[in-house]
Symmetry: C2
Subunit: 351 residues, 2 copies
């Protein structure tokens, strides 16, 4: 139960436990760092094996949000919340209103959104109790085009770093996953003359992309061995693992999926294999940028413009990686930490 | 680490961990129940053996505050905070400003004050970061006269319950501890014609009460065996214990000290011995009433008037104890729980 040791390891600011026993609600809000702004991060609803597992998950995920916001140039800190229990629960209103009260109790230091096990409909219940929630139906709308646009400019940044030109005409991109984000990514890429090889477990999605953008379809298992310039994983996590590494022939991996590296040492392996990896939390920040826009009532156009900055963020990260002989994932962490440290230093100078 | 099990046992709403590693600040805020109003309770600064001990202390003390506020008719919930560390720390400003930020993070759901290991001067640092703090120099002022007045009317209530009249003329009261509260209590009692036997480890304090109010002084160890109508412990805790119980000849125990019963079963022992015990957290609520007055900018006169209601609170508790054959300490808990339950039921009816 050495709570402060767990918090101290990565300098978490705050950890909140909220309980409404009569409703069966048990929630944890972790706030990692608010140097850059209020802590934003989604609500995960999950049946954890123990309170300890839930605490560790909340601490880990909230820290990730600090890095993501920092590297994306957003004025946001990092936070995350988890609700403990079976996310197939019938009475979602009672649970998510209780969660809304927990979020409201922090008076805006933490802003929530949907995440694994929760939906925009759940966030409507949260909204009944607090204004500190984003990703609401009818506000910023579907984030997928913005996320896809961020991935698209991220691919350009990687190609530019590799070849000296960000022209995608004739470049070959293998896209894994053709959901909302994957579809929009294919559209942006096709518009620039890129050649597409695609896969998805849903045949209808594949057919649409083949028809609209002249893409070539392959079986899901075959995507890893495609001889393309760029691999854009936009579905599963852990696609870079001990099994896939030996067959990857891509020069660049740059896609929207979360947690693309099965383990952090797989980032080193890509680096050694000469494969340029665009750190997932940097290139897929369009979703976060979209809800940030919702928070500030930006137009869709302005959010897309901001997602376009992922291009320069990645260029800077790749340059730092080269200069310091680091894998890009580590360079990204360095850039994020630098920004937080500079802001913290500034704040202290004014106390 | 089964945090929610610990919280669920007494239905705590919220438990907050706040850490500022660079300052060495580690604080916990426990909010037990806010049905009746914002959670108010002091800040304890203590070197705990473990985080677990600190958590248990915060949970236990915050629950006590719910009962105290409820039974006193205040519109306050129960909360408490603890700062972990050596309370002789030199740089109090950094620690208490960090604590102020922790309190501020809850946006008014929790209001703090001084407690064991902290002082009004420390609260001035808290005030630099949050308005949610009471017991500030120059606001409500010294709470001792109000606390003493509450104990005074509490003694009248006990005498009235025992004898049918609350006239204190000629009644014999043994007062243990002649600090600010004990001194003021002696003054109120003497004004009503009570006879006083007093003790304190400070000879100067004893002399003053002997001179001003004609009290009889005894040695500290001798106070327990005085043959008086009322014993008013106003200094140490745990004065009712296995050693003192056999020598107590008082009909009534009613004083300002915290935690007068060494263990809860000593309340049963008093009950069986026919000694009427005014539950400490009820009769000494004047201090809480005084800071509640500060919160609402009451005049000193109004706070004293409110402390006068301790008379009727205790009458009701003694009556409940008789009706249900309970020790008064248990009757007080019952009265507090009833009030919270009724308020909670009302709130739910309006959702």
């Amino acid at each position: 139960m050495e709570m402060f040791e767990m918090m101290g390891r990565y300098e978490h600011e705050q950890l909140v436990f909220w309980s409404e026993p009569t409703l069966g609600y048990r929630g944890i809000i972790a706030i990692h760092d608010t140097t850059l702004g209020p802590a934003l991060g989604g609500t995960r609803f999950w049946r954890y094996d123990s309170d300890r597992d839930a605490i560790i998950d909340a601490l880990r995920l909230s820290r990730g949000m600090t890095y993501k916001a920092a590297v994306s140039g957003l004025n946001l800190g990092g936070g995350k919340s988890v609700i403990l229990g079976d996310n197939r629960v019938a009475d979602r209103e009672m649970i998510f209103r209780a969660h809304g009260r927990a979020v409201e109790s922090l008076g805006g230091r933490y802003i929530t959104a949907e995440d694994v096990g929760t939906s925009p409909a759940d966030m409507d219940y949260v909204l009944a109790e607090t204004d500190h929630v984003v990703g609401i139906y009818g506000r910023s709308g579907d984030p997928s085009p913005v996320t896809a646009y961020g991935v698209f400019v991220g691919i350009r940044a990687a190609v530019a770093h590799r070849t000296g030109s960000d022209d995608l005409d004739g470049k070959h991109v293998a896209v894994q996953g053709l959901g909302h984000v994957g579809y929009w990514l294919c559209k942006y890429l096709a518009d620039e003359g890129a050649r597409l090889t695609v896969t998805d477990i849903d045949a209808g999605r594949v057919q649409r992309v083949v028809d609209e953008f002249g893409a070539t379809a392959v079986d899901p298992d075959a995507i890893y061995a495609v001889d393309a310039d760029v691999f854009a994983p936009c579905a599963l996590g852990a696609v870079v693992n001990d099994d896939t590494l030996p067959v990857l022939k891509f020069g660049i991996i740059a896609g929207a999926a979360n947690n693309q590296l099965a383990l952090s040492h797989h980032g080193d392996a890509l680096h050694e294999a000469g494969i340029l990896y665009a750190p997932d939390y940097v290139i897929n920040a369009g979703g976060l940028i979209n809800v940030y826009g919702e928070l500030h009532e930006w137009s869709a156009e302005r959010s897309k413009l901001k997602a376009g900055e992922i291009y320069s963020s990645l260029r800077k990260i790749f340059q730092t990686a080269d200069d310091e002989s680091l894998p890009p994932a580590e360079a990204a962490d360095r850039v994020a930490e630098d920004r937080v440290a500079r802001a913290r230093h500034l704040q202290r100078s004014f106390v």
